[in-house]
């Protein structure tokens, strides 16, 4: 045959081999050289860390976690099902359900969408049981807060969603976010083409286990807290009770308050909006930490201690009250009715304004310049924690206000004198403070001159609490100056002329001081600070009730009831208790 045509077989073989070599080279490139591999079959799945629980000082569980479930759907997998039954279980109307299903379909036919969020446990369990008859539907686990108590909303705080995670937004949840939240882990899984995880990669070697949040113990006594909140219902104000020997906050009430249960689950956003919109009562506003009030009469104690420390006062000498203090250009600072002759002790239990005006003036007389005297006074006052955040463990708070002398220069452009700011002698005027600072003042007096920073954390699982809470904070006042004052405070309740006479509790030596703060918002605020027992005090308390009149009218009984509850665990004055609980100062008739 044609020989030259026979040779063409080599050309054809050549073409075959060349093409196959090109294929092999390309394979070599893809399989060996090209290291950039995009493994679309691997996904990293987040492992949720359980948030730490919160216990009270006695180990009672306040806040734990609970699982809630979202109903999800993969529209592509849905076959005919009993819509009515599923609507019933999810508590959705059929129209809503259809709209949500449509939305899910529009988003993706193959990916999961949420149909109904945070189903309560019971229907979720029912759905899981009947899941077989709802092909394409599934439930997705959520970890949410579970509250064992209905109280202390302000202290516990609430969570909010941040990048799909629940994060502390206020209260302890915010302060101890890092400790409570733990660390989410990851699990590397292989998914199939429909993005459904199928199995673990590398025997789980690349997985990172979730580190669960630590449990914490707080200083609160939930029984006392509950009692205090009950007493404060329908009243606007704040209560802070501290254990003086440790600075631990036993009770912290801001009223009106809300139940922490309102801010979880499906009703969360609805309730939150309601709370936010209540601009009259401001239930989300924590008055105990952020409320700015005049210190009022309890500041007379601080002024007395300063005068004693600076030796401008003889505690035994008497002055005559005469119903008021004359100063400046024929002005008078009035006093109320009480025995005319008073010394330090009786001035305290009668809360004699004239006495403390005198004390104020004679303190400043010691210094040749009013600035010098004011700065000495201010330094002493500030050593009590006024005008400062107190470095406690809440992320919210107010400093209060002790004016700088330069501020006073601005306020009084003419030359000001001690008498210009005379109202400060009785705790009114330019200065103000927060209820927690007043409770701290009470603890300082109870401790005779020092305090521990008021704090809410008592213990952290496998960890220690910040050391600053166990450091003694000394005031600038020597301990010996406290005794007369404390005697006077005891007589506030026990002496017939005491401003809170009659509110003592048999067998308990309660020391207190009333306050009645004039303010721009209506009737006077009713104030009471107290501690008990007189020796080795166990509780120091400050009670502020807005626009409630005399300190002895509301604040003193409420404070003493709480003290009695804490120390005796029984109430010997049920009629008073009932009156306090039922008193409605918000909607006065």
């Amino acid at each position: 045959m044609n020989n030259h045509l026979q040779k063409r077989q080599n050309v054809i073989k050549g073409i075959f081999i060349t093409v196959v070599i090109i294929l092999v080279s390309r394979l070599f490139y893809i399989q060996i050289i090209n290291e950039e591999r995009e493994f679309s079959s691997e996904v990293t799945i987040k492992q949720v860390a359980a948030r730490g629980a919160i216990y009270d000082r006695n180990g009672k569980l306040m806040v734990s976690i609970q699982a809630s479930y979202d109903l999800t759907v993969i529209p592509n997998e849905v076959i005919e099902f009993d819509t009515l039954r599923l609507c019933e279980l999810t508590d959705l109307s059929i129209e809503d359900f259809r709209i949500k299903l449509k939305k899910a379909k529009d988003y993706s036919k193959y990916k999961k969408s949420i149909i109904s969020e945070q189903l309560p446990n019971k229907p979720a369990a029912q759905i899981r049981e009947e899941l077989n008859s709802f092909k394409g539907f599934d439930t997705k686990l959520n970890i949410d807060r579970n509250y064992n108590v209905d109280i202390a909303g302000h202290i516990i705080g609430f969570l909010g969603k941040e990048n799909e995670d629940m994060e502390g937004k206020s209260g302890i949840e915010l302060s101890y976010e890092e400790i409570l939240k733990g660390k989410a882990g990851t699990k590397v899984m292989l998914v199939d083409v429909l993005n459904i995880p199928r199995e673990s990669v590398d025997n789980g070697d690349r997985d990172i286990d979730a580190i669960h949040g630590k449990n914490i113990f707080i200083t609160l006594d939930i029984d006392l807290q509950e009692y205090a909140e009950k007493l404060m219902q329908n009243k606007i104000g704040a209560i802070v009770a501290i254990e003086p020997s440790s600075g631990e906050i036993l009770t912290l009430v801001s009223s009106p308050t809300y139940s922490p249960k309102d801010l979880i689950g499906r009703e969360r956003s609805k309730n939150y909006t309601l709370l936010c919109n209540d601009t009259i009562n401001k239930p989300l506003f924590n008055r105990a930490l952020n409320g700015i009030y005049p210190p009022a009469s309890p500041l007379k104690i601080v002024n007395s201690l300063i005068a004693l420390q600076e030796r401008s006062l003889n505690k035994n000498s008497h002055i005559a009250c005469n119903g008021g203090f004359l100063y400046g250009n024929n002005k008078i600072l009035k006093c109320h009715k009480h025995p005319n002759l008073v010394n330090l002790k009786s001035a305290i239990y009668t809360s004699c304004n004239t006495y403390f005006c005198n004390l104020w003036e004679s303190f400043f007389d010691k210094y040749n310049s009013v600035y010098k005297g004011y700065d000495v006074w201010k330094e002493h006052v500030e050593s009590f924690g006024f005008g400062n955040y107190l470095k406690n463990d809440f992320k919210s708070g107010q400093k209060g206000y002790i004016p700088e002398s330069s501020h006073l220069d601005k306020k009084f452009p003419f030359k000001w004198q001690s008498s210009t700011i005379l109202s400060m002698s009785i705790g009114q005027g330019e200065l103000n403070c927060t209820p927690i600072q007043m409770a701290n003042l009470s603890a300082i007096i109870a401790n005779r001159g020092f305090y521990y920073i008021p704090h809410i954390i008592k213990g952290i699982e496998n960890d220690t609490i910040p050391s600053r809470f166990s450091e003694k904070q000394h005031t600038s006042i020597d301990p010996q100056h406290f005794e007369t004052i404390i005697d006077g405070m005891a007589q506030v309740l026990s002496d017939i002329d005491g401003t809170a006479f009659g509110h003592g509790v048999k067998g308990l030596s309660i020391c207190g001081k009333t306050g009645t703060a004039q303010n721009n918002h209506g009737e006077d605020h009713s104030i009471f600070i107290a501690f008990a027992p007189k020796e080795k005090p166990k509780i120091a308390i400050a009670v502020y009730i807005e626009n409630a009149g005399w300190g002895s009218e509301w604040a003193a009984p409420i404070a003493t009831l709480i003290i009695e509850k804490h120390l005796n665990n029984t109430i010997s004055r049920p009629i008073l208790e009932e009156k306090m609980i039922n008193g409605n100062l918000i909607n006065k008739e």
Binding site: V11, I12, F16
Partner: protein, 420 residues
């Protein structure tokens, strides 16, 4: 009918071994591709693709055996009858067939489907061999040219009408068989240049290609000897070339069907988001995942989790690439190439032109399937749906490839007797 002992002495054992290797290896990969670890079923379960493929393999073996014992004259004499049946079935499928994946190429009988275009491959090869062998005036008499082109173009056009570009493309491979029988090599070169021209016009700006092409023609003109130098011809070539270059874009966007254009766009990197692009990406990921030695049988993550569509049929090579690695892929290509070379080697030994042309046709058909199929899985060709011979799942393709190959083995076994 002849004595069995006689046949098996003359049958080419090497080809049969290569064939069995490919079929068995193919079945293993089909098993891996469709196997679901969660559900254990018998390999004979006809509800699974591997179960059915096992059935097809059995049928193929029986058919192969029957073909081997039939006298060669059966195929020689009836080649036009086979061809006629093939063409009729192609017309019938256009009228009565069902549409799968956009092509009306299937008859549906019960749960099985039959694709006649698969069988037309060997009937065309037989008819072509016959027509070239009975022509005494040689391949290039105009009469012979028209006849042989008609033989090829008739099924080609019918299959294009079905919407099955891939299978139609297979029929272009006969050009290599023509070349062996005396077609001018220049035609191959011109076709190659034409292909390159179109490809470059799509890949880069047409005017850049035009500048290069025109200057190329000028350089060739200046350096060629005076004897063959012709300004007129060079000018005409330049005009035609530039015409092609500048009309390619237009033809590409107007003549091609959108889904074909889309697949070419994917290949040349103009489209990275479509389903076709994802298909190619997943295919390359799966193969790339194989590395040197592969992930191992049933251990390919991309394969096991069904990332590559059409995994058991047209994209069966992904499973080979991922689970058997570069080494496995290389061995597979080595075996396949050996088979091709073996067929050519045997074809050259034939004394009759009929047997030789048929042998070359077999080699060419297998070759074009191999390169298009593998090239598309590794991103060298657009996604064209044609099976990998002996490997892909599918009864029609396996049986038709078996018939195609074993008719040749039959003819080969008679080569001492066939002198014409």
């Amino acid at each position: 009918m002849r004595k069995t002992i006689e046949i098996f002495g003359k049958i080419d054992g090497i080809t049969i071994l290569l064939y069995l290797f490919l079929v068995f290896f193919g079945w293993i990969n089909i098993y891996a591709a469709v196997n679901n670890n969660d559900i254990v079923t018998s390999v004979f379960d006809l509800n699974t693709e591997y179960g059915r493929q096992l059935l097809f393999i059995g049928i193929s073996v029986i058919i192969a055996f029957i073909i081997l014992i039939v006298d060669w004259r059966f195929f020689d004499t009836l080649s036009f009858v086979f061809y006629g049946i093939g063409i009729i079935s192609l017309i019938a499928v256009l009228l009565f067939g069902v549409e799968i994946n956009g092509a009306t190429s299937w008859f549906k009988i019960g749960s099985f489907t039959i694709q006649p275009s698969e069988f037309v491959k060997f009937t065309t090869a037989l008819a072509l061999a016959k027509i070239l062998s009975i022509n005494k005036k040689g391949v290039f008499s105009s009469k012979s040219m028209i006849r042989s082109y008609t033989i090829i173009l008739t099924p080609f056009i019918l299959i294009i009408l079905q919407g099955d570009m891939g299978t139609a493309l297979v029929f272009t491979s006969f050009i290599l068989a023509f070349y062996r029988e005396g077609l001018s090599g220049n035609i191959l070169i011109v076709l190659l240049l034409l292909f390159a021209l179109v490809l470059f016009s799509l890949l880069v700006y047409p005017w850049i290609v035009a500048v290069f092409c025109t200057s190329g023609i000028l350089i060739i003109y200046y350096f060629s000897s005076k004897r063959i130098r012709s300004l007129k011809i060079s000018f005409i070539i330049a005009i035609i070339a530039n015409g092609i270059i500048f009309s390619t874009g237009h033809l590409y966007s107007n003549l091609l069907e959108p889904h074909h254009r889309n697949r070419i766009d994917v290949l040349i990197g103009k489209n990275e988001t479509s389903a076709a692009a994802n298909h190619l990406k997943q295919s390359e990921i799966a193969i790339g995942n194989g590395d040197w030695f592969g992930k191992g049988f049933l251990n390919g993550t991309q394969t096991q989790f069904d990332f590559v569509p059409e995994q058991s049929t047209d994209f069966i090579f992904c499973t080979v690439g991922e689970e058997w690695g570069f080494l496995g892929s290389f061995i597979f290509l080595l075996v396949f190439t050996t088979l091709l070379l073996r067929i050519i080697f045997l074809a050259e030994k034939q004394k009759s032109q009929f047997c030789r042309v048929y042998g070359y046709s077999v080699a060419c058909i297998l070759f074009i399937h191999l390169i298009i199929n593998i090239a598309m899985t590794i991103g060298l060709a657009p996604t064209i749906g044609i099976p990998l011979p002996f490997m892909s799942y599918g009864g029609s393709s396996l049986i038709s490839f078996t018939i195609l190959l074993f008719i040749f083995l039959n003819l080969n076994s008679y080569r001492m007797e066939i002198l014409r």
